[in-house]
Amino acid sequence: MESLNERLMSALQQVSGYIYPNEIELHWSLLIVIYPFITGLVAGAFILASLEKVFNVKELTPTYRFALLTALSFLFVAPLPLLAHLGHPLRSYEIFFTPNLSSAMAAFGFVYAWYLMAVLLLEVWFEFRKDLILWAREERGLIKWIHRALALFSTDVSEEAVRFDEKAAKIITVIGIPSAFLLHGYVGFIFGSIKANPWWSSVLIPIVFLASAIVSGIALVLILYTIVTLLRSEKIDMKCLDRLVEFLFYAVIIDFSLEVLDFIHRLYQSEDSIKILSQMVCNKLFVSLVIMQVLLGTVLPAIFLVFFRYSRFPEELRRLAYFISALLIEMGIFCTRWNVVIGGQLFSKSFRGLTVFKVEITGFEGILMSLALLALPFIILFVVLKILPPWRISSLPVDKN
């Protein structure tokens, strides 16, 4: 493994123009790319779930619980890249105990705790409580106790109690929508509030982050719903998939419009940083921004989605096209995060030079660690789906009053 010094020395040789000497080390690397990617997936999946619950989009019912559990599984992993990135992870608790209230990052602990405890866990609990009790009644052994414990040993499945659950879940979703906006908008604010960095410093960044979060969340649920349904040898609800694709398309259009607006605004204002930013986009970020994010990750899948949504191709082909488009979109959103986080550090704050970023393979900030962190939510989701199968309907009826 290359040592830090060797890596920095080789980066030093590849600097073009002038950068401040302390800027050779790129401070936020792959893990900080993954962090907004994962929180975006959480926020997006939750907002998708809320479409069914609050806005009564009935076609999306098959994905409602699924989206909730996806959001929950990814939320568990969201703080890990941050934690692994810290120079002193064991001091991280200080963010909770002695937060500096003027710091956007200090809000992380509270926003995260609020979203996990007050929104997602509560909503999942109210959504599954009735089923947990009914499942436990027909089960034996360990799983019975797991389900009883998860229901917090409540036993009331009267019609009145179930009505209350539904009402509670709905209220939590209503609170959850602004919370999801807060969660990801706040991640955008961490970057957008850095006035020293013209690539980040923009009021639009939190909104762009939100829009791209919704895109990534819907695409993720579409991908997972397709895979899991096929693995269960069940029939995919095509009406649901079509509706998902429609929402995905709207979200892509909003996200893309905002990004284009941001781009035109920068170009038109043409501030002192424009030269170096143009150089960066045309050289260092050309592949990841122009090709992967814009062409392959946005324009191509958007055309695919519209074309196949309104074509008369057989269902299987449409499903395949949707699936590939969603994968491309997901790749595009990952590139969006990459371009924001890494792009923001490739140019010098002296606006006179560009530096390089070399991805490590091993090590705490390496590709292997990143892949592990990206795989972890899927493993958690697998376990969660085993314990709380969203498609399982109890054969027992609820108790009559």
Partner: protein, 268 residues
Amino acid sequence: MKISENLSRREFMTRILDFAKKALIALPFVSGFGAVKAFTGGAFLKTAEAKELVAYDPSQHLYAMGVYIDRCIGCGMCARACKKENNVPQEPFYFRTWVERYQILKEDKTIVDSPNGGIDGFPETTNKADVLRSFFVPKLCNQCKNPPCVQVCPVGATYKTKDGVILIDDKYCIGCRYCIQACPYGARYLNPVTKTADKCTFCYHRVVKGMKPACVEVCPTQARVFGDLKSESSPMVRLERMNKIRVLKPDLNTEPKVYYVDLDGEVS
């Protein structure tokens, strides 16, 4: 020991001293020789330090640095002294202070460099005949009045002292590097040994004792000036009175306290 009601002052003092003597003799047996050494030596040292600290009132000072651009010869002594004084890693990626060379060419092009922060001097890189003007710019933490690094630190490990210096508590910093991102001047780095953020402190350990920062002390041309803005006799006050001064990136409203005399508009 029975304490009589009519204990005289002399008797009281004698008994106290007697008790102290016995306690000192008994102490090695109770807690070992090392403890006594720590008790005697350590206690005295602490008292001396405490006296010094009590004498120093940070609210009575406001430190700033001035740089005469035209006096800087780019010898790099300041950057070298800083690394020694503050135990900054020697590798060319970590600097509390560095010197930049600006070469403005006749063909409307500006070349900026700072090889190893200027520590090893500046080799000639351009044809002299092509250069319109050239100068050196020493850089360091600007000890801003509105420091973005302090604003963003999630745990308050970096803070502003009453005498206007921005410091970092390395026992408290979690190493998130947000402050490094927020500094517009590239003045911060992550110390690879402590894994915490680090930067110039105006040699705070020296200035509270009435000494100058190491870079100012070693500058052979007095290009760097250090002083207290609250003291009329300070060289900084004179610098402010006698010169046209500029700060770096004034549009960011950070209000730096490193003032440059005759700074060229090219400098960023």
